[in-house]
């Protein structure tokens, strides 16, 4: 297992290099002179020249990339053009609310998604099954920002149960987490349902029933565990969606996280911060999916990594 973890960590390196090339390449698409964009309209020609030199923009493209990647490897993504502070520092200071939001949304999605998926599969073709199917369809089709606004309208404006915006307390986390997690809940429920329906047809489930085990014991001990593996894959992939969705959710609920900061930075054309934020969020996505891969071995004893 240790060897496998080391191998997987090493395999991350080319992927990270690839992601860095994509992000670096995308930033080359900025029309006109990037130095002028960074300096803004108030900067002088000398400022533009200084920025161009400090970022290596006067060098060939491959040297520029090398400069970018070698600095990024030690956490140097340049300085925010808005605050003058290092981009990494700006990112780090806003990670906590976003991590809280993504974790809460993922937790809700896993708990609700699995429960509803199991109920839906076990009671196939019942009213509950149809209800879960319809709600799941709405869940995956509704824009996350609209779901958030509708929750705000219902729970804050009309019922007055929850605060509409802000962060820092549990009550301010509930709505954003529910809104962000709604689509993932639906996807996990659908995956759990189809996975469980597949497993329930297997011989070992029939054997467990023939032994006289209680139906819920058969489902909990024999069926659900085997249906978990594809579901866990989906959970890992959902983390990427949650990171993207957090940008919209934080904007809707005015939460001061990485997502809302990214939007502000895009509007301010703060390229170093945009570059750092997207790169680090992509790294977080890759690391979570590595952890998901490692979780397979825990869930399925047949999987042994070498």
């Amino acid at each position: 297992m240790t060897v496998y973890i080391i191998k997987r960590l090493l395999a991350l390196i080319p992927v990270l290099i690839g992601v860095s090339i994509i992000i670096f390449g995308i930033m080359q698409l900025i029309p006109g002179d990037a130095a002028e964009v960074l300096v803004g309209t108030n900067g002088s020609a000398a400022d533009v020249e200084r920025i161009r030199e400090s970022l290596g923009l006067d060098k060939p493209i491959y040297e520029q990339y090398w400069l970018f990647i070698s600095r990024a490897a030690v956490g140097n993504f340049g300085r925010s053009t808005q605050t003058g502070r290092p981009a990494l520092t700006e990112f780090s200071s806003r990670v906590k609310p976003t991590a809280e939001l993504a974790a809460a949304a993922l937790l809700l999605a896993i708990v609700f998604g699995m429960i509803t998926g199991i109920v839906s599969a076990v009671l196939q073709y019942s009213v509950w099954d149809y209800l879960v199917t319809v709600v799941s369809l709405i869940g995956v089709s509704a824009p996350v920002f609209w779901t958030g606004l509708m929750m705000m309208l219902l729970f804050s404006v009309w019922l007055g149960w929850l605060p509409a915006t802000g962060s820092g307390s549990f009550s301010r986390l509930i709505m954003p987490a529910l809104a962000l997690g709604s689509a993932s809940t639906a996807i996990i429920a659908r995956q759990m349902r189809s996975g469980l329906l597949e497993v329930l047809r297997q011989d070992y489930v029939r054997t467990a029933r023939a032994k006289g085990l209680h139906e819920w014991t058969v489902i909990a001990r024999h069926a659900v565990r085997n249906a978990l593996i594809p579901t866990v894959t989906v959970v890992g992939l959902q983390f990427g969606y949650l990171l993207g969705g957090s940008v919209l959710t934080e904007t809707v609920f005015a939460r001061p996280g990485v997502g809302s900061f990214l939007v502000n930075s895009i509007q301010a054309r703060d390229i170093p911060v945009v570059q750092a934020t997207i790169m680090l969020l992509a790294v977080a996505f890759l690391v979570v999916n590595l952890l998901v891969d490692l979780l397979y071995a825990v869930l399925d004893p047949r999987i042994r990594y070498s």
Binding site: V19, F145, Y241
Partner: protein
């Protein structure tokens, strides 16, 4: 934004896909006749949910095409004296903060919303299918280079990738189409690659090679049509994802700029008046929801009709 397909959001894995095989459906038309096609249409028509999806899509497309004829007002006509009106006989869905008729903006907005969505998916389909088929057909280094590149793209969450592209290109309709299109390429490339790998060992491809057909001809004439089924399913499901991603970008102010009517931008502008005029937020959101549901239902129906083994 949702990879989602959300139904099939980012969960694009390279699995064996339903492609036409030499023995069954979707062989070249002259060999297969039209019986498989009839069977497909019969299966598709039997799916009530898919038909509901199709009807909603047709209504939306008609709405977009006929907007100049059926919209009661000019969607950009400012009339401050009529600002923020509730629904009435004169303005069936009320007016926005500048007194513009919400129904007219919704109808005209469907044009741009559908254009962005379809444009983005078309870009993704063309580039993704081309890359996937070339990689699958050529194999070796070409395959390795293209597919590792696609893996890199897949390593980035779709919405973040789209945001990064728009951040670089700047806000605007065309840039959103490009951003959402490029961010969706990887899904199509993986599916086309999987399909191409299955198809390239088929007798008709081997025969074409044997008679000396050029690579480009084999890929275009024999392989691409036989990768059609999974790509078609992915296209419809991706439309749902693309509309959510594109409207998300518009919501953030990165899409079409005012006063152009577009559903995501309308929703974003309306949220300032969530308390006093909630219909400004509810209506465009419902429009996005319905069309996304329709694409998902239609895509699921197509998938089930083309390959009943995948039926959920």
């Amino acid at each position: 934004m949702h990879d989602a397909g959300e139904l099939n959001r980012d969960d694009v894995t390279e699995q064996p896909v339903a492609v036409a095989t030499g023995s069954a459906k979707f062989r070249t038309p002259e060999l297969a006749g039209n019986r498989p096609r009839r069977r497909f249409f019969r299966r598709f028509r039997r799916s009530k949910t898919a038909m509901i999806g199709l009807v909603i899509i047709i209504v939306c497309v008609l709405m977009a095409l006929l907007a100049p004829l059926v919209a009661p007002d000019n969607p950009t006509q400012i009339s401050l004296g009529e600002a923020l009106q509730s629904p009435s006989l004169k303005h069936l869905l009320g007016t926005d903060e500048l007194g513009r008729d919400t129904l007219s903006r919704l109808l005209w907005g469907s044009r741009l919303t559908l254009l962005i969505t379809c444009g983005a998916v078309l870009i993704a389909l063309v580039i993704g299918a081309a890359l996937g088929v070339v990689a699958g057909f050529r194999g070796g280094w070409t395959d390795a280079i293209i597919m590792r590149g696609i893996d890199m793209l897949l390593a980035m969450p779709t919405f973040l990738l789209a945001i990064a592209i728009v951040a670089a290109l700047g806000p605007g309709t065309i840039n959103v189409i490009i951003a959402v299109g490029v961010a969706s390429v990887s899904a199509f490339a993986r599916i086309a690659h999987g399909a191409a790998l299955s198809v390239k060992e088929e007798d008709y491809v081997l025969s074409a090679r044997a008679i000396g057909a050029r690579d480009g001809h084999i890929m275009w004439r024999h392989m691409l049509p036989n990768c059609f089924a999974p790509l078609l399913v992915q296209t419809t499901l991706r439309l749902a994802t693309a509309i959510l991603t594109a409207s998300g970008l518009s919501f953030l102010g990165l899409g079409p700029q005012p006063p152009t009517p577009e559903w995501g931008a309308m929703l974003s502008a309306g949220r300032t008046y969530l308390t006093s005029n909630p219909q400004l937020t509810i209506i465009p959101g419902l429009a996005i929801l319905f069309i996304a549901i329709a694409f998902n239902l239609f895509g699921d129906g197509l998938r089930d009709a083309l390959d009943p083994r995948l039926m959920s």
